[in-house]
């Protein structure tokens, strides 16, 4: 009997033991309980709460009882010209943001990760520098970008363009012009969070066996060919994870818009997102019911997107 067969034998034994345990002994549910309790408390109940509240007219702290209005909040969301147009506009902004940001940011993160994955002296400094934007609080970042996007010639971006073009390019209102407002938010968001994806991808890159590259170069594969046939397959699962994560972050877009809106005249029509709408409706305008209805509809939309995405790109290995 070899060592491995002993192991197999014992594991077969223990499997048999497990099978022998009478069902309903409660161990499974007990083990799952902490997770389930937390999931229920922080995900299920708030969501059910949101669904319930979306049927009521509720104001925070109002001495009057919430009034049941049935599906009115949903009807308004779909048919009231004012509310539904804002909601659809926000949704469109969300999609526009995600469509640009998800591929761009993932590609950029991969590029950056490859760039800083070299064995060069002082690479730690570069890694730290690239990672820095993520460490800054967004409120601070918003202040800085406000200066960059300022609409007069004192704005950093306008000043820069003016300098390199020798005065040919006049000042532009980056945040106020509907054509560039969302683009400005996109640039700021990517700058701020690309390093997060970069760090994850860097981890994946470092786990690609160097032998594969050696083998590839023996086969006379060029740089590009190595990237396509070794690097990308090597980090495939991580790339999928990063894409999913970026998609979710993209739909959660809120802070950037909210902070810039509170501090400067930004074209809010062109930049508002559903999350922004939910929060401002619920808390700033004290209309919890309408905000809940928006949140519920939005959750359904995002859940659908996540499901479709899961269908389209399957991860290799792991638990199916």
């Amino acid at each position: 009997m070899t060592l491995s067969s002993i192991r197999t034998g014992s594991s077969r034994q223990s499997r048999a033991k497990r099978r022998n345990r009478p069902p309903g002994s409660g161990a499974g549910p007990l083990m799952a309980a902490p997770g389930l309790i937390l999931l229920t408390a922080f995900l299920a109940i708030p969501f059910i709460g949101a669904v319930v509240m979306s049927f009521f007219r509720i104001q925070l702290g109002n001495p009057r009882p919430p009034r049941f209005v049935g599906l009115e909040q949903y009807a308004r969301l779909l048919f009231d010209p004012d509310i539904s147009s804002t909601f659809l506009r926000s949704l469109a902004n969300n999609f526009a943001f995600a469509i640009v940001v998800v591929p761009l940011q993932t590609a950029l993160a991969l590029g950056l990760a490859i760039l800083i994955n070299r064995k060069l002296r002082g690479m730690t400094v570069f890694r730290t520098l690239f990672f820095m934007p993520l460490v800054f609080p967004l409120a601070l970042v918003a202040v800085i970008w406000r200066l960059i996007f300022a609409r007069d010639e004192n704005g950093l971006l306008n000043g820069f363009l003016d300098a390199i073009s020798g005065g040919a390019i006049g000042p532009h209102d980056w945040l106020g012009d509907p054509a560039t407002a969302l683009g400005a938010i996109i640039v700021m968001s990517i700058w701020q969070s690309v390093s997060f994806q970069m760090i994850i991808l860097l981890g994946a890159l470092q786990s690609v066996p160097p032998e594969l590259y050696e083998a590839a170069s023996i086969d006379r594969a060029g740089r590009w060919s190595q990237f396509i046939h070794v690097t990308v397959p090597g980090v495939r699962n991580t790339l999928i994870f990063v894409t999913l994560l970026t998609t979710i972050f993209a739909f959660r877009l809120f802070d950037q818009v909210y902070l810039l809106d509170k501090s400067a005249s930004i074209n809010i029509e062109a930049t508002q997102t559903v999350m922004f709408q939910v929060i401002t409706t619920g808390y700033d305008q004290n209309n919890i019911g309408q905000g809940s209805a928006m949140a519920v509809v939005f959750l359904i939309i995002v859940a659908l997107i996540a499901l479709i995405q899961r269908r389209l790109i399957r991860q290799e290995g792991g638990v199916e």
Partner: protein, 449 residues
């Protein structure tokens, strides 16, 4: 669904509570609603400990308040004060979600929210608990802000006002003279000409500042620029409806005139356009006077905002002191409020932050405000208070923001519309949409009756 913002605005005990729990609490709290706004108030013994919630503001103000409260404890041996400073961004939510037991006895509230807090039962009328002298000593402008449905809900130590601040050197160079009283205010057309004249001499052609960096969709938007509509002769809300007021022809024209000045306006991203001499004229409130004075010295001149047809107007009103809606110690709370409004205290406090005192007696003793003093114009316009927007007239100047329980929606919608128009949207469409949203909210809530 919860965002950082939402969590930051909610007291910590709510963090663990579920949304469903919130709904249940609201349902239960709903049963406690009562017609008499003072029903939950008890006189108490007039001694013991009272709780006070104050806004966590500038450190100079906090220190001044702490010192004032210490002074009160010393002079009233029987009353102790349990003082809490609450950050500004959490204050409203904390007050909205507090149970009756948690509500403080004395509370600092922001002026425009008083009607909303009164409606929600968060604060109680004061008339029975503060002395007649205290009430009589309050200026009309601050009383206008603090009165809801005929009941006084708060008393104010200070007030605020907007003005046109000028850089005399730059104005003289362009041959422009700053009017010094509301009666002589530039008309909107004259003001456009003034800007034309100043723009010629200004290096970037933008001689005008209005603190665009404060944002228009914030509370600053309605505070600073509702005077545009008032001065044109229309309130924001008329007979409980925004339609016909906020979206009226008068309002649209005024807002269009106002936004036509955008070409002359410095974006003021750094908030120092006026101090650094980049602009010759600046639309701003009294609170920047110390900074302006330091930067410009004797070149600083001050005058009225432009007149859009029905007399120059200014916003007024600011943080005031009220009494918790369910206080069990109203007598002691009233004693503290009386103390807060005494000359000595008001003078000490307004000296700390440079605001115009909101009591007649302290105003006359002020070093900045009053006849012949540096900010005479500001006290003059506060003296001629309308004081609320439903009694606008050509010869009164200071107006309080709309006194309505639906204020959160009014301010949000007005700010949004103004920001949109300033950015290039059509004024009639933006204002009409804002009016529809406000009216829908009012209707949804039975006009907050």
């Amino acid at each position: 669904m919860p965002s950082q913002h939402a969590i930051a605005g909610v007291p910590s005990r709510w963090l663990s509570a579920s949304a469903l729990g919130l709904a249940t609490t609201l349902l239960l709290a709903g049963c406690a609603g009562a017609a008499d706004p003072s029903a939950r108030v008890e006189e108490g013994s007039g001694t013991g400990t009272i709780t006070v919630w104050a806004l966590d503001g500038q450190s100079a103000e906090n220190e001044a308040i702490q010192k004032i409260i210490d002074g009160f404890e010393k002079s009233n041996g029987d009353i102790e004060v349990d003082m809490q400073f609450i950050p500004a961004d959490q204050f409203t939510t904390a007050l909205q979600t507090a149970t009756d037991e948690e509500l403080p006895d004395v509370v600092e509230v922001d002026g425009p929210l008083i009607a909303n807090f009164a409606y929600l039962g968060r604060i109680a009328p004061l008339d029975d608990w503060v002395s007649k002298e205290t009430v009589a000593n309050q200026t009309e402008a601050i009383k206008g802000q603090n009165t809801v449905d005929g009941d006084l809900y708060a008393v104010g130590m200070m007030n605020s006002g907007l003005a046109m601040w000028g850089n005399k050197k730059l104005l003289d160079a362009a041959g422009v003279e700053m009017p010094s009283s509301a009666a002589e205010a530039w008309t909107a057309d004259e003001f456009s000409e003034v800007l034309d004249k100043l723009a010629v001499l200004d290096p970037d052609g933008k001689p005008f500042g209005l603190a665009e960096n404060n944002g228009f969709s914030t509370e600053y938007g309605i505070y600073a620029f509702a005077p545009v509509l008032w001065s044109a002769g229309t309130p924001l809300i008329k007979d409980g409806r925004a339609a016909g007021a906020l979206d009226s022809e008068t309002a649209i024209e005024a807002v269009e005139t106002f936004t036509s000045w955008r070409d002359y306006t410095d974006p003021d991203t750094d908030g120092a356009a006026f101090q650094s001499g980049r602009v010759a004229l600046n639309w701003m409130g009294n609170w920047l006077y110390p900074a302006y004075k330091e930067a410009l010295g004797d070149d600083l001149v001050v005058g009225p905002l432009p007149d859009f047809g029905e007399g120059a107007k200014t916003g007024s009103g600011t943080i005031a002191w009220g009494m918790g809606g369910a206080t069990k110690n109203a007598a002691a709370a009233g004693a503290l409020l009386d103390y807060l409004m005494s000359d000595e205290v008001v003078q000490e406090y307004t000296a700390a932050n440079g605001a115009p005192p909101a009591t007649h007696s302290a105003l006359s003793g002020s070093e900045l405000y009053g006849e012949g003093k540096p900010l005479a114009y500001l006290s003059e316009q506060l003296e001629s208070a309308c004081p609320t927007e439903d009694v606008l007239a050509a010869d009164c100047v200071a107006v309080s923001r709309p006194i309505t329980a639906g204020y959160p929606v009014v301010t949000a919608e007005f700010g949004k519309a103004l920001a949109a128009v300033w950015g290039g949207a059509d004024a009639s469409e933006a204002l009409a949409a804002a009016a529809r949203a406000i009216d829908r909210d009012f209707e949804d809530n039975d006009d907050y009756k």
